[in-house]
Structure formats: C-alpha cells, structure tokens
C-alpha cells in the first residue's frame, strides 16, 4: 500500500473515530443533562433527593411526594418496591410513571405506577442492576399527570453492595 493510501486511511479513520466518540459524548450529555423539573426540598449538594440511605420528600411542581423505598438496603438485582405518597393540591393525579437511568445510558427502564389509594402510588418488582464499571448510582424520574399536565421530579438512589 502506498504512503498516500496510508494517509488517506488515517484521515478517514480519524474522521470516523471523531464522529463515533463525538456522538457518544453528545448522547451522554443529553441523557444526563435533562429531566429535572421538580423543585427538591431535601437531598445532597447536587440538589436532588437522595434515597440511598433513607426515605425523603420531593416536590414535583405543585405536588409533594414522600418517597419510600423497601427493602433496605437497596441491593442490585433484587425486587425493590418504590412507594410515592403524593399530596396533591387541586385535582387528583390521573397516572404516574417511574423511569430510571444511569450516567452511562442504560436504555429505557420504565415502570407504570399502580394507585393504592390515599395518594399512594406503587412500583413493585423494580430490578436495578449495577454497571460492572463501578456504577451503582441510578437517577429516578417520577412523572405524575394531573389535569393534563405532567409534573416531574428526580431523585437518586445508590445501590448497596451485597454482603
């Protein structure tokens, strides 16, 4: 192969590599930089409610939600239950959805919540894996529909290690 052909291959390779890794970077930026609409009343310095160690409360626009996770500690690849007690002002909440993702995109991981009365919404049998690269931190987004409007709030949960 001639030197010109080598150079051409190198340039094409660099261009494809830049497109490939640029696309990866942009897709991660999109996945980690959105979805926080609800104001949060407690949590870490990042401003998100952290339910890794204990339950908490967060705001979703006009709604307030108590977040209860069981069993404790939350372990990877076990059945977890997420309970949200929505204290609504005005019209009742019509439906609610819970979705999870990590910093590294893990694809759609969505759960429909079941109304259990008195403002309680449940997601049972939630199974969250860990990433072998060490990632244990999941970001949950609760989306509640009320009066044709969607209110969203985000929280974080770091899975514990198996003993």
């Amino acid at each position: 192969m001639t030197a010109n052909a080598h150079n051409r291959n190198t340039i094409v390779g660099v261009v494809v590599a830049v497109l490939l890794f640029g696309g990866i970077y942009l897709s991660r930026l999109v996945n980690t930089g959105t979805a926080v609409e609800g104001e949060v009343t407690s949590g870490q310095s990042t401003g998100e409610l952290d339910v890794s160690q204990k339950n908490g409360t967060m705001k979703l626009g006009p709604l307030v939600a108590d977040v209860v996770v069981s069993p404790r500690p939350p372990l990877p690849m076990t059945n977890l239950t997420f309970e949200f007690v929505l204290k609504d002002k005005g019209a009742p909440v019509d439906s609610a959805r819970l979705s999870f993702n990590m910093k590294m995109d893990m694809g759609p991981h969505d759960y429909s919540l079941i109304a259990a009365g008195d403002g309680r919404w449940l997601a049972k049998d939630v199974v969250l894996p860990t990433c072998p690269s060490g990632g244990r931190l999941w970001f949950g987004t609760l989306a509640a529909r009320q009066d044709d409007q969607e209110h969203r709030g985000r929280f974080r949960i770091e899975l514990a290690r198996h003993l």
Partner: protein, 221 residues
C-alpha cells in the same frame, strides 16, 4: 409494573447502547478479535467475517439468556446463578487480553523482551493454545461477561412471557449492538494497521482493560 419493550425497542436499545456503552466496555475485545483472527493484509471482508462471527457468538449467548429468563419469568433468580459464571468469564477474558497484549507488545517492541521474555513467550504460547480458536467461540464465551446494558435487556426480556419471546428479544438486542462493534473495527483497521504507534497504544489499552476485567472476575463488584 415494568413497561414492556417491543422488539423494535430491544433493537434500538442495542443499537444506541452499542454506540453509547459497548464501544467503551467491549472495545478491547473488538481489537482483540481483529488482531487475532484477521491478520494484517487479509482484507476488510475478512475483518467483517470474523467480527460478524464474534458478534454472532455473543448473540447466541444473549439469545440463550433471553430464553432462560423468558421461561423463568424473572431475572432475579437467574442473576444469582449467573454471578459465578460471569466472574469466571471476566477472569478468563481478562487473562486472555493480558497475555495477548503482552505477547504482542513483546513482538512490537523487542526491547521489552529483555529479562524473562523467552519464558513469558512460552507461558503465553501455552495459554493462547487454550484460548478459543475462532471468533464464534470467542463471542459465545464473552457473551457471558458482566454488562449493565445486557442486564437491563435481560430484565426487560423477562417480562416478555415465554422462552421464545425472551430469546427473540435478546437476539434482536444483540443484533442491534453489532453496528457499533463493526464501526469500531473499521476505525481500528483504518488507523492501527498503518500506524505502528497507534497499534502499540491499542495493545496498551487492551492490556489495561485486561487487568480491569481480571480484577472484576477475581474481586467482583
């Protein structure tokens, strides 16, 4: 309850996850397959053939996993059983990458061979003889590697209700991951094969990832 994912959803999970996730985690294995089974100058069709076989091997393993979780109706039981297998796979894969990268670096940079080189070459030769001899078997073995994206797909496949539906879902997912792997192999073919320094850096990358996978297998996560 978990919202079900249709077959197109599994494909896009594999396709987008392939570019956003697999390229980083499985990149060293793509380089390994290219170097080991597609010798220099053997042409791009040969490269695609072996990368295709490697991908097919992974898809076979994924399909089997999908069929099992689909039949069980849940991924939790399988997860406990799989933990040991995945650790062994990670340790084997890590060891393979380390040996291959070191042996290749010794050839690429002969000065490294001073002190223990011949002994290492003999040990490496023995280990390499026991490594899977073709890309398909390599893919089948490496399909068992612990992978967060695969876990998500397996959990979703468990909700498909049946072995056939679960297996089909993960087959489609696995096929979806292949374009990203093939793109990476083309980048590697265009760059590393004509630039000795990049080739050496690739081997260093494979070596580092080999140590990391070995650590995952021995130490667990």
């Amino acid at each position: 309850m978990r919202e079900s994912l249709d077959l197109f959803g599994f494909f896009t999970l594999g396709l987008l996850g392939g570019f956003g996730h697999c390229v980083g985690m499985c990149g060293p294995f793509v380089l390994y397959v290219s170097r080991r089974f597609g010798p220099l100058g053997s042409g791009r069709s040969n490269l695609f053939l072996h990368q295709g076989l490697y991908g097919a091997g992974r898809v076979i393993t994924y399909t089997g996993l999908g069929a099992v979780v689909g039949a069980l109706g849940g991924a939790v039981d399988l997860a406990a059983d799989m933990l040991g297998i995945q650790r062994v796979a990670a340790a084997l894969a890590g060891g393979l990458l380390i040996v291959y990268a070191l042996a290749s670096l010794l050839q690429l940079v002969p000065r490294l061979a001073v002190g223990g080189g011949p002994l290492f070459a003999r040990v490496a030769g023995v280990i390499r003889k026991r490594a899977p001899g073709n890309a398909l078997l390599t893919g089948i073995l490496l399909g068992f590697l612990p992978c967060g994206l695969l876990y998500v797909a397996v959990i979703a496949a468990a909700a498909r209700g049946g072995a056939v539906a679960g297996g089909l879902a993960l087959l489609v997912f696995g096929v979806g991951t292949m374009p990203a792997m093939l793109t990476l192999s083309v980048v590697d073919e265009l760059l590393a094969r004509h630039r000795a320094m990049i080739n050496r850096l690739s081997m260093v990358f494979i070596l580092i990832m080999g140590v990391w996978f070995l650590w995952q297998g021995v130490g667990g996560t």
